[in-house]
Symmetry: C2
Subunit: 103 residues, 2 copies
DNA sequence: ACCGTATGTGACCAGAAGGTCACATATCAA
DNA sequence: TTGATATGTGACCTTCTGGTCACATACGGT
């Protein structure tokens, strides 16, 4: 899941699918500086991570974004690191740059 | 940033620092099945990604978690994929399994 | 049936990433 | 200052990853 998000091309593909869902491989291919094989691999990674779901329509394969797992990351992981600190987080950066006294 | 989060060891290190901040390399080393060199590399990646900030204290180097960039991901990226879909997201999975009509 | 189009598979290669080690430097304490 | 402790550096190796290609299959239209 995190590994799927680690690659910029895959994030771009997610962005493309976010702006318009249900595209085929061919439609996505033209948007990226890469052969369709590379795109295929990336889509496969995204699909295995559950970030993208697909549906065949004839000889075409339609790709849809799946917000569920992203929501899970949001709920289970991101919040863990934000909620607890967010109160003291007026400007942690400044605090650190001046003098990191306590924490 | 995403690449920094992609490795399980680094997420573990973040977890450790989350539970208790300001640890030294040696303190973190004993928690992980790895030599200190490996841990050092991972901490370096986390630091370069801005997820961890450090402060020297004598011969020790203290590591602190930095919630700021995680918050940025939350605000700039995660929300983009959740907010828009979250209304129609009672159970997208079922919707897809039965028949993906529109979106 | 045939041709064009859309997608799939496996081999292959270069480079990045994860991990270890020998060696080096810096600090504390006696 | 001498020794023990804490961290740093560069070389090195192995495995994973990103990307391409030759070839194969599947479907649609005419």
């Amino acid at each position: 899941m995190f590994k799927a998000l680690a690659d910029p091309t895959r994030r771009l593909l997610l962005d493309l699918l976010f702006s318009r869902d249900g595209r085929t491989l061919g439609e996505l291919e033209v948007e990226v500086e890469m052969t369709r094989f590379g795109v295929m691999k990336h889509l496969r990674v995204l699909e295995e991570a559950g970030l993208v779901v697909t549906r065949r329509s004839g000889r075409e394969k339609l790709h849809f974004i799946n917000p569920v797992p992203i929501r899970l990351v949001h709920d289970r992981w991101i919040d863990k690191y934000t909620e607890r600190h967010v109160a003291a987080l007026v400007d942690v950066k400044n605090e650190l740059e001046s003098e990191h006294v306590d924490h």
